[in-house]
Symmetry: C2
Subunit: 203 residues, 2 copies
DNA sequence: GTCTATAAAGCGATAGAC
DNA sequence: GTCTATCGCTTTATAGAC
């Protein structure tokens, strides 16, 4: 189910706005930024390009709304999952849970997350600029996860944590460019990512 | 020096064509696909948008030429470097060299490589389709590197090599989105990537 | 071969009917 | 609130002068 789709008992206009947002997230996730027209989004939403302007000021506003919901959704999901772990869980368990949740969200559960992942590197610099604080906040969360693990002695002391964080998120984010449902489960992919990140690939 | 810039003793038209190609690679690498106009490229090349059409049929042809030079250039550089290693070098050495070379090329040495990395996920599906065989060939090369390492007993037998390959290339490719010259050297980043991939991050 | 002018097309955005 | 018609800008692409 799409994240914006809780439409019970709301004004008609609000419901339509969310329908357009959902449609935009799906189309952007599928075709990327440059190859998506307002008419594509309208068609996916069962309306017309001109009608979108009753709900959104511009194409940019629509894109930015999708990006914002994407990054905040993943952030919330990851934090919720990590905080729900039994107290005293190892940092390895915490990091593995974060990787799994981020991956599941980005790959199958949320078109906003997928769209955000694909689009963030594609949109013009001014749009990216207005989104950067949200990405930084999420990055900060990961930095704390990694710092916690290091303080607890669960990861090596000789690593640059910024590079490590970008390395992990790079590998995780790149999956949206190649993952096709069916062949491998998300859990399998997440498990291999987690084990190779912690234990390496050397025999 | 840009890869297409060997202009000694060639026809004027050929030289201009290469000047436009270099300019296109730099602008695409900097601004991405959606945010780059032919007029931007023309300006970078010291000419005019209309003049580009004497050398290229269309914007698409220009983009595709940049993408092709990008991926083939990295492929050649990596293969050359790996093959230049002393015979009997360990597979770890070979993989580390491949990571280093790919990274150096993508981050600083070649705007075509940078552009290819950034643009491949951004261009419309039909363009990507026409490039996919080149990417597959490069992916095949990595697959063989990893298979060789596994056969030699240098990496674990329980890993899905496709996921591993995409994980490594994902982490490496993502660097073009965050790397800024100055703070850390390419060698430092490559070294940390290689050591964490092989040995993991666990203390 | 390169420049200037302009045509042609696509698409975001607006206006007004309903 | 939504639809249809259309405007106007942007950008690719072409034509023709030099």
């Amino acid at each position: 189910m799409a994240r914006a789709a809780a439409r019970q008992g709301m004004r008609k206009s609000e419901a339509t706005r969310l329908r357009i947002l959902d449609a935009a997230a799906r189309v952007f996730a599928r075709r990327g930024y440059a190859d998506t027209r307002l008419s594509d989004i309208a068609e996916e939403a069962g309306t017309f390009a001109g009608s979108i302007y009753y709900h959104f000021e511009s194409r940019e506003e629509l894109v930015e709304a999708v990006l914002t919901l994407g990054v905040t959704g993943v952030f919330e999901a990851v934090r919720t999952r990590v905080e729900a772990l039994p107290p005293g869980s190892s940092h390895r368990t915490r990091l593995t849970a974060a990787i799994e949740t981020h991956l599941a969200f980005a790959l199958t559960q949320d078109p906003f997350a997928t769209a955000n992942q694909r689009l963030f590197a594609q949109v013009p610099a001014d749009i990216r600029q207005r989104q950067i604080h949200l990405h930084r906040a999420y990055g900060e969360y990961w930095r704390k996860l990694l710092e916690g693990a290091r303080r607890a002695g669960e990861i090596r002391r000789d690593l640059d944590l910024s590079v490590l964080r970008l390395q992990i998120l790079g590998a995780v984010n790149w999956t949206v460019e190649w993952y096709k449902p069916g062949k491998r489960s998300i859990e399998q992919i997440a498990a291999q990512l987690a084990t190779t990140i912690f234990d390496g690939i050397a025999a």
